[in-house]
C-alpha cells in the first residue's frame, strides 16, 4: 500500500511538472476534461451574422455557364509561412474554380500566425479581384485611359457595381480544433465571421447547396442541432440538386495511425442519418490529416489529407480535391497537388510575415 501511494505521488509530481513547464502551444491539456470555448456560443454568434448576410453568400450562375468547379483543402496549420494556403487559392484562381473551401485548422492559434494567414489571403484577394472584377467591369464599361487601374475600378464599382471593398475572396472555411484553442475563436471570427452557415449556387432552375458545420469541439452542440432541426439555415425549401457538407471532425478513421472519431455514439448516428436526409452528394471531413474515400448510406464521404509543410515538406500531387459539377448535376472529382517549398526566414520577413512569436 505504501508503495502504491509512493508511485502515485511520483507519477502525480511528474505529470504536474510536465503540465507546469511544458509550453502546450498546440494542445490544451485542460481540454481533456472540459472546454474553455463553447460551440454553442460560436454558433449563436454565427447565426446572427448569417441572418444579416446569409443571402449575400449565394451564387447565381449566368445562363451561359453550365458547369463549375470548387476546390477543397484541409488542415493548413499556418505558422510563419502561409505559402501552402496561398498556393491553394492561387491554384483555384488559375483554374477558374468558382470558390475555395477549407476544412479547418487554418492556423495554429497565435496572433502572429493569424496575421500571416490574413496577409496571405489579403494578397490572394487582390489577385482574385484583379482577375474577376476587372473582367466583369471591362465587359460593361470602356476603360478610362487617364486613370490608374485601381482608381478606375473603384470609380466603376462605386458607380455601377458593388464597392471594391465589398468583394470578398470566395474562401469558405469551417473552424477546426486548432482554431479555437487558447481563445483562438476571437482570431478566427475576426476574419471569417461565422462557423455555421450555408449558401447555394443557382444553376438554371436548380440549386446546389453547400453546408458548413462547426464540429471543432468534436460535437455540433445542442444549439447547432436545434438550429438544424428548426431550419435556421434557409435553403431547405429550394429545389436542391446536390448537397455538399463541410466540417472539421472526421467520422471515418483512415488507418490505425490516425485518431478515431470523437463524436459520441448518438451524435455520430444522428449525423450520418442527417447527411442522408439532406441527400448529400459528398460530405467532406478533415482533422486526421489522411485520405479516406468511401460510400456510406448513399453519401460519399471524403476525409482530406493535410496541406501543411510539417506533414508534407515537399508537397504532394494529391493534397487538394477539385469537384467539377457538370451540366447534368453529376460530380467529377480530381486530386490536385501543392508543391511550394517552405520559405526561409529572410524571405518571409521580406514579404512582411511574422517570423517569431512573443
Amino acid at each position: 500500500m505504501k508503495k502504491s501511494i509512493l508511485y502515485s505521488l511520483m507519477a502525480t509530481a511528474l505529470l504536474a511538472g510536465c503540465g507546469l513547464f511544458s509550453s502546450c502551444e498546440k494542445v490544451s491539456p485542460q481540454g481533456v476534461l472540459m472546454a474553455n470555448t463553447s460551440v454553442d456560443d460560436r454558433v449563436r454568434q454565427s447565426l446572427i451574422y448569417y441572418t444579416y448576410y446569409g443571402e449575400d453568400l449565394d451564387w447565381i450562375l449566368a445562363d451561359s455557364i453550365d458547369e463549375y468547379s470548387f476546390l477543397v483543402g484541409s488542415d493548413s496549420h499556418v505558422t510563419f509561412d502561409p505559402g501552402r494556403l496561398a498556393e491553394m487559392v492561387q491554384t483555384g484562381i488559375e483554374n477558374d474554380d468558382l470558390f475555395y473551401c477549407h476544412l479547418g485548422d487554418l492556423a495554429d492559434t497565435k496572433p502572429e500566425y493569424y496575421y500571416n494567414t490574413k496577409a496571405a489571403l489579403y494578397d490572394a484577394t487582390r489577385t482574385w479581384k484583379h482577375k474577376y472584377i476587372k473582367a466583369l467591369i471591362d465587359e460593361h464599361h470602356t476603360a478610362d485611359d487617364g486613370m490608374f487601374y485601381d482608381q478606375r475600378i473603384e470609380k466603376f464599382t462605386k458607380n455601377y457595381l458593388r464597392p471594391w471593398d465589398d468583394w470578398n475572396l470566395p474562401f469558405y472555411p469551417v473552424v477546426g480544433n486548432h482554431d479555437i484553442t487558447h481563445n483562438g475563436w476571437s482570431l478566427f471570427c475576426d476574419q471569417f465571421k461565422t462557423s455555421f452557415y450555408e449558401f447555394t449556387v443557382k444553376v438554371g432552375e436548380k440549386y446546389d447547396r453547400f453546408i458548413f458545420l462547426d464540429s471543432a469541439n468534436g460535437t455540433l452542440g445542442d444549439f447547432q442541432i436545434d438550429a438544424i432541426e428548426n431550419k435556421a439555415l434557409e435553403n431547405d425549401d429550394k429545389p436542391i440538386r446536390n448537397t455538399f457538407t463541410f466540417t472539421h471532425t472526421n467520422i471515418f478513421r483512415p488507418s490505425m495511425n490516425e485518431f478515431a472519431s470523437t463524436y459520441c455514439r448518438e451524435e455520430l448516428y444522428y449525423l450520418l442519418n442527417k447527411l442522408s436526409e439532406w441527400g448529400t452528394s459528398i460530405a467532406f471531413w478533415g482533422h486526421v490529416h489522411a485520405w479516406d474515400d468511401r460510400m456510406f448510406n448513399g453519401v460519399r464521404h471524403i476525409t482530406m489529407p493535410s496541406m501543411n509543410f510539417k506533414d508534407h515538406p515537399n508537397g504532394g500531387d494529391d493534397l487538394l480535391v477539385r469537384i467539377t459539377v457538370k451540366k447534368d448535376g453529376t460530380c467529377e472529382m480530381e486530386r490536385v497537388g501543392l508543391h511550394s517549398k517552405e520559405m526561409s526566414k529572410d524571405e518571409l520577413e521580406a514579404m512582411g510575415y511574422y517570423t517569431t512569436t512573443k
Binding site: S4, T12, G19, G31, V32, D222, F252, R253, R265, E266
Partner: protein, 240 residues
C-alpha cells in the same frame, strides 16, 4: 506559452488524472464471496443528452458465479426517451498474480438506436487489474454499426478505465472517482467519461449503488464539451 494560471489548472487536472489512474479500487462489479452464486441488479438512469434531450431509462443485470474463477453476466439496457435498447453477455475469468486480482473478460454488446435506425454490435476483450483501493482496465473494442444497407466496422479502439475509492473494497460503504471511455452499455473512442460513484451495503444480500457520470464529446486538443450528464441509482440482490 501558457500563462502561469493556465499551468496551475493543467497541473491540477494532470494530478487528478494521475491520482485516479494510480490510486484506485473498483466497486462497480463484484467478485465471488464464496457463498452467493447469484447476483441481480436493477437501476434507474436519468439525465440529459444534447441530441436526445432529457433521458430516462433502466438497466438490468444478472451475474452467475460458477466458482472463484469463472462467472457469466447478462444485461439489458432500456433507454425510453433515447429509444435506445441494448443487451449484452459477458464472461469473466478471475485469477491472482501476487497481490493483484486480475479479471480477463470478453463481452458482446448489441444496441439498437431506433431513433437513428442504427444497429450497433460491439465486441470487447479486457483485463482488469485490481487492488484494495483502485483498479485499472485495459482492452480492445471492435465496434460495428449498420444504417440502412451500409455497415462500417471501426478499426480496433483502445478501451481504458480507472477507478479509485476512499475506502477499501471490503468496506460496507464507499465513494469513488471514475475515469474511462466506456460504460455498461456503450464503448467510445477517445471520449473520456468521468464521474463519481458510491455504494452502501445494507447486509450480505442487499446493496445500493449509484453513479454521477459526465460524458463529454471530444477530448484532448478538441476541448471536451458538454454531451451527456446522467445520474444512476440502483439495487443489487445476491443469493445462494
Amino acid at each position: 506559452m501558457a500563462s502561469f494560471k493556465q499551468r496551475i489548472v493543467i497541473a491540477i487536472i494532470l494530478a487528478f488524472t494521475a491520482s485516479t489512474a494510480l490510486a484506485q479500487y473498483y466497486s462497480g462489479e463484484h467478485t465471488f464471496d464464496g457463498e452467493h452464486e447469484h447476483e441481480a441488479s436493477a437501476s434507474v438512469t436519468v439525465g440529459k443528452n444534447i441530441i436526445t434531450g432529457p433521458c430516462i431509462g433502466n438497466t438490468l443485470h444478472y451475474k452467475h458465479y460458477f466458482n472463484d474463477h469463472w462467472s457469466v453476466d447478462g444485461g439489458a439496457n432500456l433507454q425510453y426517451t433515447k429509444e435506445l435498447y441494448g443487451i449484452k453477455a459477458k464472461g469473466e475469468y478471475h485469477f491472482k498474480v501476487k497481490s493483484f486480482h486480475m479479471f480477463a473478460s470478453a463481452e458482446l454488446l448489441y444496441n439498437r438506436y431506433f431513433k437513428y435506425k442504427t444497429n450497433e454490435i460491439d465486441g470487447n476483450i479486457s483485463i482488469r487489474f485490481e487492488r484494495g483501493y483502485w483498479d485499472i482496465t485495459l482492452g480492445e473494442t471492435l465496434i460495428n454499426y449498420t444504417i440502412g444497407k451500409s455497415g462500417y466496422t471501426e478499426l480496433p479502439t483502445l478501451t481504458f478505465g480507472a477507478h479509485a475509492t476512499l475506502r477499501p473494497r471490503t468496506n460496507n460503504w464507499n465513494v469513488g472517482l471514475l475515469f474511462r471511455n466506456y460504460d455498461d452499455f456503450y464503448y467510445e473512442n477517445w471520449n473520456i467519461n468521468w464521474g463519481l460513484d458510491f455504494y452502501y451495503k445494507f447486509n450480505s444480500r442487499w446493496k445500493m449503488f449509484g453513479e454521477f457520470n459526465i460524458r463529454p464529446a471530444g477530448s484532448m486538443s478538441q476541448l471536451a464539451s458538454r454531451y451527456e450528464t446522467t445520474g444512476k441509482l440502483g439495487l443489487i440482490y445476491r443469493w445462494k
